[in-house]
């Protein structure tokens, strides 16, 4: 009885009437939890089964393939770790890994810098802001096949508009796609171009959540624009920034169409990323084992990077 009245008082302190919906006593709570768990399990089961069927099965099957020497029409025989050791000893793999790293770093930080700058610019009251917003979203909205074809038209031949422009500016015959270094630069620039609208949207929403009073307080305290940006804006949007970095890292590492449609990984592997290499190994050379092994190594690295960045996000949350 005493415990019941104590419980009632506790519930009353929480603003809930004695007969109301305060926290139920322990046993009832346990029963409710257990019933909830059962219902949850029953309702979740079909989704979990589907997820396993659609995601886990192919992953396990692919993992098994990476230990075999199969082709597209033959599952092959078990070869142990030979596919993995073969790849790790292949200079082409390390070249592709290096290019993937550069492509990802440029893609993530290039698009973030431009996206953030535009998001800050679009916060100011400029005429036609809405039209600018829509226009700036176009590179992200337009299908990559269309934009890759357009960029190809812009730079592919010596008669292309960009080639003629550079020639007119005195740079001579600039081979944007045929020169290995220029092709690498162009692919990275293309990636930044199609990705910055995403970053702009992420940063815009992050900036919108920053309390304007903080800026006013900083102004009163005599903080300059750069100081305000560095000491207030960046820390206040750091959570969204890290999340956008994680997402863009995944987008860049897994980006197949941007590179393949523009250069096919060439010239002579100059723009071959790991995902393009994996594709060509499986679908051009018919080597499913090494191709899937490349994809698995990529996944491991990607998960490691994502984990590190998520830890950073948690750190920000705690702070």
């Amino acid at each position: 009885m005493a415990s019941s009245s104590t419980g009632a008082l506790v519930r009353a302190r929480k603003g809930v009437g004695v007969g109301g919906r305060g926290r139920p006593p322990g046993s009832v709570r346990r029963k409710r939890r257990s019933r909830f768990a059962r219902v949850f399990a029953i309702f979740a089961l079909p989704s979990v089964a589907l997820l396993l069927l659609l995601n886990l099965y192919p992953v396990i099957y692919a993992a098994l393939q990476s230990f075999r020497n199969g082709s597209l029409i033959d599952s092959g025989t078990f070869v142990g770790l030979r596919n993995y050791t073969g790849i790790l000893h292949d200079p082409a793999f390390w070249h592709a890994a290096r290019f993937t790293l550069v492509f990802t770093l440029v893609g993530v930080f290039g698009s973030w810098a431009i996206g953030l700058a535009l998001a800050l610019l679009l916060r100011t009251r400029i005429p036609g802001r809405s039209i600018f917003k829509v226009l700036l979203l176009l590179p992200w909205v337009v299908p990559v096949v269309v934009s890759a074809t357009s960029w190809n038209w812009l730079v592919a031949t010596p008669q292309s508009p960009m080639s003629r422009l550079f020639s007119a500016l005195g740079f001579g015959n600039v081979l944007f796609l045929a020169d290995p270094l220029l092709a690498q630069i162009l692919v990275c620039v293309f990636k930044v171009w199609i990705s910055f609208p995403f970053m702009m949207m992420m940063m815009s929403s992050a900036l919108a959540s920053v309390d304007v009073n903080v800026y006013e307080a900083a102004k009163i305290d005599g903080a300059g624009k750069w100081q305000t940006f560095r000491e207030i804006t960046l820390p206040m949007i750091s959570r969204s920034t890290y999340i956008s970095w994680v997402l863009m890292t995944i987008f860049c590492v897994n980006d197949f169409p941007t590179i393949f449609l523009l250069t096919g990984g060439g010239p002579v592997r100059a723009t071959q990323s790991l995902v393009v290499m994996a594709y060509l190994t499986v679908f051009a050379n018919f080597q499913t084992g090494p191709g899937v092994a490349i994809a698995f190594l990529m996944t491991i690295v990607l998960v490691a990077i994502a984990t590190l960045l998520y830890r950073q996000i948690r750190k920000v949350d705690i702070e």
Binding site: V39, L50, L72, L175, A178, G264
Partner: protein
């Protein structure tokens, strides 16, 4: 309250999950049943014989091909035929998964080396009996000389030739006239034509090696064959760095280094190449039999197929891909498959005479029709090029084989090789040695 909210939320999700699951299951079931009914029964084991064909030509090809197939009236006791068009996108996977699940065709066309890959898996019904029967009804003798032999393997004929995908030289007659040169007949003359074309700002070695464009890789092989070389020896092993090959590649590298090829060609897609023909930047080049049609417009009328060039050693040769039709062991009736193919080869002439866009015909009788003779470029290919064509297997052999698909036919090492030559910064010997070491591990 909290628990109720969460509970409600999860139950909605659960219901959605179940609904979604049911929808997907229903869709999967629908797909599988529709696939089954379309093809007339499971695998080749149903009552009908499944014929799968690719879109070999323009939009007119498959409707006419289907009409020919469905008009087949089998003899008593033999199965009728059903028709299925298979798209080129991911066709290897389409065939592989269907054949593995025993739902594949009894008869099909497909990739040029597909028959040899599936023969390696024991899925192909060899065409020896069929070809024996064709020796009696005249079809066998109607094939171009040596063509049937390209299908020969140690165990038998993996398929029968169906259409020929060829690589030939093309020139723009107006640009050659402008440059004041005659079409070349030898490598030396070709180099001279390129030099003259360069003086009017036109490239004489016009082709590309960009995404999805394997023409440069094919033409490099064609030049090797032209010089008596090729990529495989008699043991069907790669033998890339032979003297004949080095000499041929050195010749091509010379063209590149002298500026006779477009410096941006290494990453040209077929669209880029045709744009250069249209822009009159290519005066001479190498392509398929349908290049003029693909370029289109006013320039197409100026495009003429050249003659095969004699190499420095006086040899002639070129590369072609004899696409084929194959029979599978999974058939309702092997006799039925053979009877259908006999009917098909006796009636398929209209695929060429009605200009459906399919490659060159395998049968001499089709090339004698007035419709075929109306195209002088096709006639030139048949008369001048067909007799000197060889396959990927040259110089070691004539018949295609299993390893071609995974080593040289559209593979990454071949594309890298082609792009490195067009870059002009390698030596012939080094590039061929790199190719050799890249394709050796791909042999299975």
């Amino acid at each position: 309250m909290d628990s109720q909210t969460v509970g409600a939320s999860f139950s909605r999700r659960g219901v959605l999950g179940m609904t979604g699951g049911a929808a997907i299951a229903a869709a999967l079931a629908a797909c599988s049943s529709s696939g089954g009914s379309k093809s007339g029964g499971g695998g080749g084991g149903g009552k009908s014989l499944k014929f799968w064909n690719m879109p070999w030509g323009g939009t007119a090809f498959n409707p006419l091909d289907k009409k020919i197939t469905l008009a087949y009236k089998p003899a008593s006791g033999l199965p009728s035929a059903t028709y299925q068009e298979i798209q080129w996108a991911n066709f290897t996977q389409t065939f592989a998964s269907a054949i593995a699940s025993r739902t594949g065709p009894a008869v099909s066309s497909g990739g040029g080396t597909q028959a040899f890959q599936f023969a390696h898996q024991g899925q192909i019904a060899y065409a020896d009996n069929l070809l024996d029967s064709w020796k009696k009804n005249g079809i066998y003798d109607d094939f171009f000389p040596g063509l049937v032999d390209t299908m020969k393997t140690d165990k038998g004929y993996a398929g029968v030739p169906y259409n020929l995908d060829v690589r030939v030289s093309w020139y723009n007659k107006s640009l050659l006239a402008k440059a004041g040169v005659e079409p070349p007949t030898t490598w030396a003359e070709y180099e001279n034509v390129c030099a003259k074309l360069k003086k009017i700002g036109v490239y004489g070695f016009g082709l590309g090696a960009g995404t999805g464009n394997n023409i440069m890789a094919h033409i490099l092989t064609a030049f090797m064959i032209n010089n008596g070389g090729g990529l495989f020896n008699a043991k069907q092993e790669p033998d890339c760095a032979s003297d004949a090959n080095v000499e041929a590649v050195e010749f091509v590298l010379g063209l590149v280094k002298k500026g006779y090829s477009d410096p941006a060609a290494a990453t040209y897609t077929t669209a880029n190449v045709y744009a250069q023909w249209t822009a009159k930047k290519f005066g001479m080049g190498w392509d398929t039999a349908g290049a003029a049609v693909s370029v289109g417009g006013a320039v197409a009328k100026d495009m003429v197929v050249g003659v095969p060039l004699a190499s420095t050693s006086g040899k002639k040769g070129g590369l072609y891909f004899p696409n084929n039709i194959m029979m599978y062991t999974n058939t309702p009736s092997q006799k039925g498959s053979e009877a259908f193919l006999t009917y098909y080869f006796q009636t398929m002439k209209s695929l060429w005479t009605q200009n459906t866009g399919i490659g060159l015909p395998p049968l001499k009788s089709i090339t004698t029709t007035s419709q075929f003779k109306a195209d002088p470029n096709s006639v030139k290919i048949v008369d001048d090029w067909q007799p000197i064509f060889k396959t990927w297997a040259a110089p070691g052999g004539t018949g295609l084989f299993y390893n071609i698909a995974n080593t040289v036919d559209g593979t990454a090492p071949m594309n890298n090789f082609a792009q490195s030559i067009l870059g002009g910064k390698v030596s012939a010997k080094a590039a061929l040695s790199t190719l050799q070491s890249a394709i050796e591990p791909l042999m299975t």
